[in-house]
């Protein structure tokens, strides 16, 4: 087990290095640079800025310096948010994205398992048809539409009732989190519902379920112990990447609901070619994603002993 974990972690580090390198060169290959703005710069000022940010050195030297500072855990200073360390930006804004993400994944996970089990129980009957229709909607409608619709319905709801039921944006209390996290978790919930449904249907006709029924095990026990528990395994597998996907993919939701998360810095940085923030957030998110995948693999090893053999 220990060796397996070590091997996975080593692979993870290689992956992160690859992400960092690819991003670095792709970013520098894009036309334009972080220094250009509405007003043209004189050559002198441009040269000064280049020295200040180390852009005057050859690309490979910059790459070397940059790798070294990543190893030391220092992503440098942002180009646009001058005077702010990229590390500080991550430190201040990632917890917000993570909170939102955790809540979204809880909604998605619990909702997905429950709806999935329900549809499997009522297969091809009305509840199944309705829920599966909603699931298709949930998967195919992009999050910016769902987010905008969610906010608009809240505005209308508050307007109708004349009282502020839930805040329509901003951050700070749980009331601010409910709608954004539901919006954020929606497509994952839909996906998990489908996964759970098919996994349940497979298990309903499995040998051990039939045996249990034949033995006269009480239905609740068959359902919980034999069906749900086994059907949930594939759901856990996809939960890891889903967590990373949700925590990092929330930028649309963050912008619409005016949430101070890391996602919007990530996207803004790309538009403004803020080299240090692009690198910082990409490497951070990359490492986070890789870590979540490894973590889930290891946890899975505990739940399902068969995996350990690999």
């Amino acid at each position: 087990m220990g060796r397996y974990a070590l091997k996975r972690i080593f692979q993870g580090i290689i992956t992160v290095w690859f992400i960092a390198t690819a991003t670095f060169f792709a970013m520098h290959a894009v036309p334009g640079d972080p220094l250009s703005g509405d007003k043209a710069l004189t050559e002198r000022i441009r040269a000064n800025l280049e020295v200040k940010y180390g852009l005057d050195k050859p690309l490979m030297v910059q790459y070397g310096i940059y790798l070294k500072s990543i190893v030391q855990g220092d992503f440098g200073i942002s180009f646009t948010q001058e005077n702010r360390q990229v590390n500080d930006i991550i430190k201040e804004h990632f917890p917000v994205s993570a909170t939102l993400g955790i809540l979204a994944i809880v909604f998605a996970g619990i909702g997905g398992v429950l709806w999935g089990a329900l549809t499997a129980l009522y297969r091809n009957r009305l509840p199944d048809t309705i829920i599966m229709f909603l699931v298709i909607l949930g998967i195919s409608v992009p999050s910016f539409v769902v987010a905008a619709l969610g906010q608009l319905s809240l505005v209308n709801l508050n307007g109708w009732t004349g009282v502020s039921i839930l805040p329509i944006g901003g951050w700070g209390t749980v009331w601010h989190m409910i709608v954004p996290s539901m919006v954020l978790g929606l497509s994952t919930m839909a996906y998990l519902t489908r996964l759970m449904r098919s996994s349940m249907l497979e298990i309903v006709s499995a040998d051990f379920v039939r045996t249990a029924k034949a033995k006269g095990v009480p239905p609740t026990q068959i359902f919980t112990r034999h069906q749900l528990r086994n059907a949930i395994l594939p759901v856990i597998t996809v939960l890891g990447p889903a967590i990373a996907g949700i925590t990092t993919g929330g930028f649309v939701v963050e912008i619409i609901f005016a949430i101070p998360g890391l996602g919007r810095y990530f996207v803004q940085a790309v538009q403004q070619l803020d080299y240090t923030v692009i690198m910082g957030t990409t490497v951070f998110y990359g490492a986070f994603l890789v870590f979540m995948v490894i973590l889930v693999d290891i946890i899975y090893g505990f739940i399902d002993p068969r995996v350990r053999l690999e």
Binding site: P31, N83, E92, I102, F223, P260, Q272
Partner: protein, 572 residues
């Protein structure tokens, strides 16, 4: 009968199983709700520890005399010597005050300086003795000198340093040829500021309300160790408000500055910037939900606002948008007849009134927007824009001439560089269609996001580019010198000795009539030589909470100013 019995019992067990499993599922669902509730309670506790909470205020609050607003972007930092963006401009406009300011009716009025004088060689400002920093110390002439020297220092690399080039030795200091101490500014005593000018600058007093000219106190700046303006407590305030809280990416709280000298003009006690989002629809939703007191409207939200029967304000935002030509030697657009042909077929009235149809927008007629002041009246009244008579036949003749001069049978595909936003999409497609229809020209649209478009503009990789220019100071020269051969913002590299001569005339004269005549000539030359094709002057539309009065949108400086705004009780 006996054959069917087992199957009925089979269905029965299935049914019974589903029922009890369903009940079990309901139990789980209840459990899940409890778990989520507990989790949210935990998150609430955690969130209150992080403390980046949005103050859930109403749009206007009479009790605390405060308003809540949203801004599109977080200010990157509030260091006035290097700042360039609009968000920072709005905040600095409320928390800082310079030598002079613009009044509610857009006239220059005394601020920290109680009187001033501009001569061909010098500008002198006499500072009021009761103006204080937010820590209670007096604002002195030295604070201005320090700020200007800092903005010009080569290692600070301020993008707006060029505005200070009018001051003696300003350019040389910025080029690193002279030390900052050589700057031509003197303080004979703490409250007198004497500026030596590099050359006569008739409009120097109109420039000093720009952010780059704001005062900065040396001891405070030094103590921040390079973090000046990065946080609320890393800034010293000279204006009507101070920032009492700044949570990055989330909110800013502006409160009345007790040390501000001119208290009576400040109508609000607090301005709560509670939301930062670039999404126009989201901002409109905040307004609908009575969370914010003011918002700009984007084209896509206009119908929505009209439906609500709100009072919609419309103004110009001061920016001129135009089609800029690439005048480099290797481009077909360097040919005057080709440019002339394009000029003769493009009807900007059609573009503005029939195609884009945006309120507040007006068709472009000149390089100079119509709000600029001339000697007595508006510049465009004193020197009307050259009248353009559209003429497709004449355009075709020019096109033939162009082909002859270029030695081409057909004009090759013309590359038009544009930005990526709804308005420039419509604009570029219209241009493409018009030039195809009337002149048979093939235009390829090269759509690029901001930075990439800039890079291509600077490198000259275009024939036509949809560009815009906003004013830096309140004098026609801010537009007038755009096509000087040496101006780096002249991305099409237009180069004409006549243009340079006229610009020099406008720069060096201190006689208003002479200068305006030069601008009139520049306007004519830009038309005759088809240096550019003005397309439109941009408008802005916005809505305001009915209880909030007297706010002011400005073309130069902070785009929205709440300093004089006040609240009135709800009439209903």
């Amino acid at each position: 009968m006996s054959q069917t019995t087992p199957s009925i019992t089979g269905d029965d067990t299935e049914e019974a199983f589903a029922k009890s499993a369903g009940r079990q599922l309901l139990v789980f669902a209840c459990g899940a709700v409890v778990i989520i509730a507990v989790l949210m309670w935990g998150l609430q506790v955690l969130a209150s520890m992080v403390g980046s909470s949005t103050i859930a205020a109403q749009a206007v609050d009479l009790e605390t005399n405060s308003i809540t607003i949203a801004i599109a972007e977080e200010p990157p930092q509030l260091n006035s010597t290097v700042t360039t963006d609009a968000s920072s401009g709005i905040i600095l406009g409320h928390v800082m005050e310079g030598l002079l300011r613009m009044s509610m009716d857009d006239k220059l009025e005394p601020a920290i300086a109680e009187r001033w004088e501009v001569t061909p060689t010098h500008a002198t400002f006499w500072l009021r003795k009761n103006a204080k920093w937010s820590d209670g110390k007096p604002i002195t002439a030295h604070d201005f000198i320090f700020a200007w020297q800092t903005a010009l220092a080569p290692d600070v690399a301020s993008q707006y340093a060029f505005l200070l080039f009018h001051i003696k030795n300003g350019r040389a200091i910025n080029q690193g040829e002279l030390p900052v101490s050589a700057l031509g500014v003197l303080a004979p005593d703490d409250f007198t500021l004497v500026v030596s000018l590099e050359r006569p600058v008739a409009f120097f007093d109109k420039m000093v309300n720009f952010v780059t000219f704001l005062p900065v106190r040396e001891d405070f700046y030094t103590a921040t160790e390079g973090k000046f303006g990065a946080e609320a407590d890393q800034l010293l305030y000279s204006g009507p408000f101070v920032i009492t809280s700044w949570v990055h990416g989330s909110s800013l709280l502006l409160e009345r500055n007790p040390y501000y000298w001119d208290q009576q003009r400040v109508g609000l006690d607090k301005i709560n910037i509670a939301y930062i989002t670039s999404d126009a629809t989201a901002t409109l939703n905040f307004f609908k939900d009575n969370r914010i007191a003011y918002t700009k409207l984007q084209a896509e939200n206009l119908d929505d606002a009209l439906e609500k029967r709100w009072h919609i304000y419309r103004e110009q935002d001061g920016t001129v948008f135009f089609l800029e030509f690439n005048h480099r030697q290797d481009r077909v657009t360097k040919n005057i007849h080709l440019r002339k042909a394009m000029q003769l077929v493009m009807d900007m009235d059609e573009l503005v009134y029939k195609v884009t149809k945006l309120p507040g927008y007006i068709p472009g007629k000149s390089l100079f927007p119509n709000w600029l002041m001339g000697v007595e009246d508006y510049l465009r009244k004193e020197y009307p824009a050259p009248a353009l008579v559209l003429d497709i036949d004449k355009a075709k003749q020019h096109l033939e001439l162009a082909k002859q001069q270029l030695g081409l049978d057909e004009i090759p595909e013309i590359i038009m560089l544009t930005g990526d936003n709804p308005v420039s999409n419509i604009q570029s497609e219209w241009t493409q269609a018009v030039l195809k229809k009337h002149l048979g020209l093939t235009i390829r649209i090269d759509k690029q996001i901001f930075k990439q478009r800039l890079a291509k503009m600077t490198a000259g990789e275009f024939d036509l580019v949809l560009a815009g220019w906003g004013p830096d100071y309140n004098d026609p020269l801010t537009f007038g010198d755009l096509f000087a051969s040496y101006n780096l913002n002249n991305r099409g590299r237009y180069n004409s000795p006549e243009m340079d001569r006229l610009i020099e005339e406008a720069q060096n004269s201190v006689i208003a009539a002479e200068r305006m005549a030069a601008f009139g000539a520049i306007q004519q030359l830009a038309f005759d030589d088809v240096v550019l094709l003005p397309m439109y002057e941009r408008g802005v539309t916005y809505v305001v909470h009915p209880q909030l009065k007297n706010l002011k949108r400005r073309i130069i400086g902070a785009e929205i100013d709440f300093t004089n705004a006040y609240l009135v009780p709800d009439k209903s």
